[in-house]
Subunit: 358 residues, 4 copies
């Protein structure tokens, strides 16, 4: 019953096979290989346009390189106040950008709302030297609350951003999960809705370690080869990134894996929602389930071997907030999650638990 | 006849098998897994002391994190004027350190000599605020000239560095090759000779993408977990770094692979040295061969399918410097280099060539 | 009727005389002069302890150097959400620290409250590599709302900070004004209440350009000489900073000048508070007056020659917030403000105004 | 006999008067005042074209801001190996640029020669991601050796730089001295010879603390307002920078002051050159005199009250290098240097001295 993270999973078999196969040849170093070239071509087809593509080994690096392409040191990037880039990357965007400011915006269910974005931007007057200048809006897709923006939501926010002279970044660590949920095409979810740069994550969705920085306007990529190298993100045996990406995309594997993870989460969410004293905090749209439950119940599940993270310091809709004796927890599924593990946890949750105070 | 780079090789079979095997289980994320723990333990045994170990995906990241642990933004690190860290990493040490200065020191055969180090340090008075302050000496082992420092050479330089209040870093992208050449033990080559931090490279020596930052004084590692995360170098599925390192070390594989590469280079060097018009520039001590040869000969080898890099902008001993019509070239062997490829190139070089002007 | 900024004032006569006098001799460069030494000694007397003192030319530089002494790039500094350091310095603290994160905390009347500080810190778990680590609490004294912390308020916040392993910085751009208001001694307001580093501003209070970074624990100053030089803040003719500071402190000039500015603000605040449709937003404690007034009234004042800044994007207590047709404005007094200017504005405000829509 | 530095001098009377006068009015803050505007206009007239002008308080800040406008973090700036920016600013250019690399080029008499520039550039191939990319050439005018480039020399170097896609910066801490020496016009010495950005220093030439960053292509200045603010270099009472610059330029004061300093140095140089055992190291072209002299003689001068800096770690032409028992020393004159001081030192040097060993 391991629901701690989708990063705990292994590698999907076709990707592992591609790694092994690509090891058999001598290939040019630093990404000048055929695997990487084919992966980039395939991404252009899938996104229906010319792209600049850079493969790196972590989502943090992908986000930070993407933001560094958009944000100068004296500028600001705006994101949800609980975005991964502001909370969970130890300041990587600040590092890669040379000290830019991340500005968090509150919003329900992990999403930024247009009015909140406008209100925040009003505090950053253009051309005033004492104010870090607005440069980028970063949206997480799927969000940190396990919800997915619809293309129209992205388009509305991107329009505000562009109007203010900003560019739009999408942190797509769980992009495939959001596509599967919404049915949108990759193009609709990104550049057709105004996204300028995408961090596309394969790792959580079955790869070993492979993420892509994708620029829809290749002009944005002028400095990225240098910034990537300088960040130690240009792998010498770069063909292994290319081979992973190629295999991940081939035959729609990326969407299949994401669909499995989403399906597991939905099953888990539906089961937990029926458990006594348990309520869902956010709609279950991708591969994460957030619940508020009695602390004693959570302790009992842990004692029975379930693994998941406490999430109690995070924001919730007011009506869902933990009350005394309750806590919030996060459960994540992956392409490998076994139905039996899900059902075991649901069974556990359905059982009565003994309160600590009783 | 591919001698362009040891980065063009694939992955040694036992390492590939370890990757596949470690994919079968769910493992804690971000390096908190058993593979990584075992790899670190094994390194402690091999280096005969307690260590702080951080696994990352590139040699550039390893070097830059190592130097960032030693060098504050207003300080300076000293290295050979053709060191990888100063010439080939697009400023990664400056980036990771927050803008420290790298100071190049000239020296024959890729090595820094004690007198040159002392003379350079004299220009950096301690405690004078206008001068970036000396903080680190970085040695490349093996050097960029394909030579290997002996432990006593390292100890002599480290003594000067320590006396000046500096720490010593070893860029060990080809550390195993240097060990095999010199017969020194890992401990002798590092902390027993005064090395404080080692970048230990497995990638060029048979891994997929795995390098270790090793601190012999664990106190130096206080900030490294944050700096690594912030640099996007904390792999989410970190067990794959651990599994690579564990397999690379197991049964002395790392030394066997390096020995193969060294042997290939020696064979190639001996063969090329006998070719008409060709002379070796540096002693062939590890897996690199540097020659000066007539430009027409080099062109002929290339035309026949040989791959290698022009090295003509690099320093040579005065007596070896290219004369008119000559150029310098670098040939690199790997654990995969086939004896037949070597002999084919030697045969080619032995044949008379047609000058461009004839 | 110029109430735009205390930065619009000139230089107090004794300070100007000190500049002229100190120009007559040849003095050692870069702050190694007798003026600077005497100023530092005098500060030690005034603050009743040994200090490390660094003179610089701007408050932004003083704050940024102070924070850089406390905060590493992968750490976070906490401040009020409208603090000068987070809103008005174009990211200087991020720049000087190498990319640290500033975290804003909301709070009434420009002050941070203990509970809010604790709640924010709970989101920054110690030792977790993905989280920028708490390193500094920065308080503005006086605050951006023109209020002054009492020593006990500072002590309560500093205790929380220290308990969390953090250091405490005071942005004292208007420190003298806060001293005059509260009657606290310099020592009580700072290190006796737990402050580790103070930015002490003379410029707004009568100097030409002179601010001091004062470390109550001189060990914090180890890197500051280098950071100051590197920031271009080590003036070559440093004696002119020393001479300003010496004259500013001599005979309590600094407190006299601040008292004048505070008195002017109190007079202005009392006058405006009686004007029709006008209400004070914050208590007038130092040399700033914040009012909400009908937009038409503010326009009329401006048309009559009054200069002040619109402040409508800033936070207010809920009950004071501008309603439709109203706006918020800031008025600042200085040691030079003329009583007649104040009374002229009060007279203007007392008069009926014509609404734009009438 | 104080020849330690031109930074030890006071402020020229007309500049001091301008400071006092400009203190009498209330002026807009942060450089939006009339003094600053008039100073900028006057610079446009003097340089015969439209300019972007930024006033700051130190030469280090001016250089670092200028270079930051030209050099991105992954780029390199080239300068003489003993340039102030590489040796004496504690890494300020690296700091302001976000970690760019400074590359020193050797050259006689403090000057870079075209062939040396070309040879260095050959090691920085364009478009290769592992190599920091050439972005700026920085020349010191006058040089660190007290010599002055002629416009044709600057033009020759600038042509090479521009051909390589680089921009040209002039560190003009002693620009007026170089103008006076060469008779070139400000325009000839800068943009007509290919200079893109000038750091124009007034401080060493009679100001209190005032330097200008001057961009001949105003498009280069887009980010400078933010970078200046962020560096704490936007003085709140900016009118005092404007007033200094205005007075410095008025009636050619800047050239008159430089002429006085140059004349003093020439007199000193001619005198010392005749002293027993003393030889000039570089041509005396501006306000600095470099000599090699017996250590015993230098000690005797010091004992008699002369102040000057040891310069023995610096490069010299081979024929001038100190031999055993000799050392190199630097003497600097200023607009305030008294003829009597000069003659006293010359008299001292003319006298026989007692060797330490005798």
């Amino acid at each position: 019953m391991n629901f701690a993270s989708d990063n705990g999973a292994g590698v999907a078999a076709p990707i592992l096979e591609a790694i092994v196969a690509s090891s058999r040849v001598n290939a040019p170093a630093y990404g000048a290989d055929a695997y990487t070239a084919r992966a980039a071509s395939r991404l252009c087809e899938i996104f229906e346009r010319e792209l600049a593509v850079f493969l790196v080994s972590t989502g943090t690096a992908a986000n930070a390189l993407a933001l560094a392409a958009l944000t100068k040191p004296w500028q600001a990037a705006f994101c949800h106040e609980e975005a991964h880039i502001i909370d969970d990357e130890c300041g990587a965007p600040e590092f890669f950008s040379g000290g830019a400011k991340l500005v968090g915006i509150p919003g329900l269910n992990g999403k930024i709302e247009p009015a909140a974005l406008r209100a925040t931007l009003a505090r950053f007057p253009l051309g005033q030297a004492k104010t870090t200048q607005p440069a980028a809006l970063s949206l997480s897709q799927a969000t940190e609350a396990g919800t997915a923006y619809r293309p129209a939501e992205i388009a509305a926010l991107a329009a505000i951003a562009h109007e203010a002279g900003m560019r739009v970044h999408l942190d797509g660590a769980r992009f495939a999960n959001a596509l599967v949920k919404t049915g949108a095409s990759p193009a609709e979810m990104t550049w057709r809705s105004g996204v300028d740069v995408l961090s596309l994550g394969a790792t959580k969705d079955g790869a070993l370690a492979c993420e892509a920085v994708i620029m829809f306007d290749p002009a944005l990529a002028a400095a990225t080869p240098y910034q990537r190298k300088r960040a130690g993100q240009t792998l010498s045996k770069g063909r292994f990134l290319g081979a992973q990406m190629e295999a991940w995309l081939a035959g729609g594997l990326w969407l299949d894996l994401a669909r499995r993870a989403n399906t597991s989460a939905r099953r888990l969410g539906e089961g937990l929602a029926k458990a006594p004293g348990v309520r869902l905090v956010f709609p279950v749209e991708v591969n994460e389930v957030f619940v508020v439950a009695p602390e004693a119940a959570l302790a009992a599940w842990r004692a029975a071997g379930a693994r998941f993270h406490d999430w109690s310091t995070r924001a919730t809709p007011p009506e869902a907030a933990p009350r005394a004796g309750e806590a919030m927890a996060r459960f994540v599924t992956s392409f490998e999650t076994d139905e039996k593990e899900i059902d075991a946890l649901i069974a556990l949750a359905a059982a009565p638990y003994r309160s600590r105070n009783s």
